[in-house]
């Protein structure tokens, strides 16, 4: 089965210039947890997820800690999130996003999703333009 036959046919994407706040609203309204970041023609520039924003709003020293035991509450996180809410999302996206061509087969897609531990892959046509998203559930539905 080709990727284009099983992918989710959705072109929801964002421009690198939209703000963190706009992205959070998009995630909240659409139920999506990640979206491709594209240029004016629809070519993939990266992918940005809820996780990228959470990591961006964590205090810089957080990754040096083993857990949240040293955090009294969520105030620091909330304050940092407000500080970055008007930032362009391009500062938080994963730039070297893994994508797949629509004519690739489902086995290649499964391999990518598992090996790279991804939840979704942007699907592009031969010109590199976004044509859909392949999610884990699309593969599972295909195999059922």
């Amino acid at each position: 089965m080709k990727v284009k036959e099983i992918m989710t046919r959705d072109l929801t994407a964002v421009e690198p210039g939209i703000t963190v706040k706009e992205l959070i609203l998009l995630f909240e309204r659409s139920g999506l947890t990640s979206v491709p970041v594209v240029d004016e023609e629809g070519r993939i520039l990266g992918i940005v997820s809820e996780r990228d924003i959470i990591e961006g709003a964590m205090p810089g020293y957080f990754e040096l800690l083993y857990g949240t035991a040293f955090f009294a509450d969520m105030n620091r996180f909330s304050q940092k999130l407000r500080e970055i809410e008007n930032d362009r999302i391009e500062f938080y996206m994963t730039s070297d996003a893994i994508k797949i061509e629509e004519d690739e087969d489902d086995l290649t897609a499964a391999d990518l999703l598992i090996r790279k531990n991804l939840k979704a892959l942007p699907v592009v046509n031969r010109d590199g333009i976004l044509v859909g998203m392949l999610r884990r559930i699309d593969l599972l539905k295909d195999l059922l």
């Binding site: 989710t8 046919r9 959705d10 072109l11 929801t12 994407a13 964002v14 421009e15 939209i18 706009e22 609203l25 998009l26 309204r29 659409s30 139920g31 594209v38 004016e40 023609e41 629809g42 333009i129 044509v131 859909g132």
Partner: protein
């Protein structure tokens, strides 16, 4: 690829009832049947085209749980979605079809979600990305709160810039403003007022005069106007045609106009002339009006109606 824009899509809920009883302290009318579908002019066109195997992308503003349900239903039809998420709730439009009065459905329409300037900006960015792959752009329906009246005008202008043919099915100021961009085909929505940009569309001869003016003087490619339920007048730069559907047994007129335009687009994609396409579109509309569902998409069923569609030069 065909791009359809439905600024204010809806979940359409149809109830069939024996009689609408409004008497008594707490009137209750029980439905004998009901039907639920994703709707709105462009959505209906997209559904038809997808069933005909024609690749298309549906755009518009959606919101809330109803928006999610609508998006899911549209995707289940193998349509590519490119919706912009707005604040509030996508419309649910209710239609009551009373036994014996199916030609006069009672409709309750919601207003739709409010579109913010940011959502509008994101729509245009997304629209410009999809446009280069579109052969035809279908623009249809009312505008939700927050979307300016020149919305269709701007979309039509951008589509022309990319060489796509624009088909518009709308009414009022949004249509009047879009006429300045000289769309390829215009079908005025005459459900509320039988006019276009202040010019009357009352009967066949009036439609022919008004249509002639818009095609010759205002640069509109062609004008298609329904009248007397079973007639459509097609005005082109060369001719004026009256198409008539004969021996129609009406069951549900709701999706007929969308089936007409969707049928036309599908025939045009197959290489038909505008007149041949209009005839196929009218057969699709007739088949839909004779079925209880919203739109008939079975090509054989539509073809079987073709013999009842006649064409006469006016």
């Amino acid at each position: 690829m065909i791009l359809t824009v439905t600024p204010n899509p809806a979940i359409d809920k149809i109830y069939w009832i024996d009689r609408l009883d409004l008497q008594g302290e707490a009137p209750l009318t029980r439905a004998t049947r009901s039907y639920l579908s994703a709707g709105g002019k462009g959505i209906n066109v997209s559904i038809f085209l997808a069933k005909m195997g024609i690749e298309n992308v549906a755009m518009g503003f959606v919101a809330g749980e109803t928006g999610r349900a609508l998006e899911r239903r549209v995707r289940e039809e193998n349509i590519t979605t490119s919706f912009i998420w707005a604040e509030g709730e996508t419309r649910t439009n209710v239609t009551l079809l009373e036994k014996g009065s199916e030609q006069r459905p009672v409709q309750i329409s919601e207003i739709g979600p409010t579109v913010t300037p940011q959502a509008l900006q994101r729509f245009f960015a997304q629209y410009k990305r999809v446009l280069p792959r579109a052969r035809y752009v279908f623009l249809g329906g009312t505008l939700p709160p927050g979307v300016p009246a020149h919305f269709y005008q701007e979309l039509s202008r951008l589509a022309h810039k990319h060489g796509a043919k624009v088909i518009i099915n709308a009414a009022g100021e949004p249509l009047s403003l879009a006429l300045a961009t000289q769309p390829w085909l215009v079908k005025p929505d005459t459900r509320q007022l039988r006019q276009i940009d202040g010019y009357a569309l009352t009967d066949a001869s009036q439609i022919a005069r008004t249509g002639g003016y818009f095609v010759r003087e205002r640069g509109v490619g062609a004008l298609l106007v329904s009248h007397k339920i079973t007639h459509d007048v097609l005005v082109t730069s060369e001719d004026i045609w009256d198409l008539e559907a004969h021996d129609v047994c009406f069951k549900n007129l709701l999706g007929a106009e969308d089936a007409l335009l969707a049928g036309m687009i599908s025939a045009l994609i197959r290489g038909a002339s505008l007149l041949e396409a209009a005839r196929f579109g009218m057969a699709a509309a007739t088949a839909s009006a004779e079925s209880e569902g919203l739109i008939v998409t079975d090509r054989a069923q539509i073809e079987s109606v073709m013999s009842r569609i006649t064409v006469e030069r006016l």
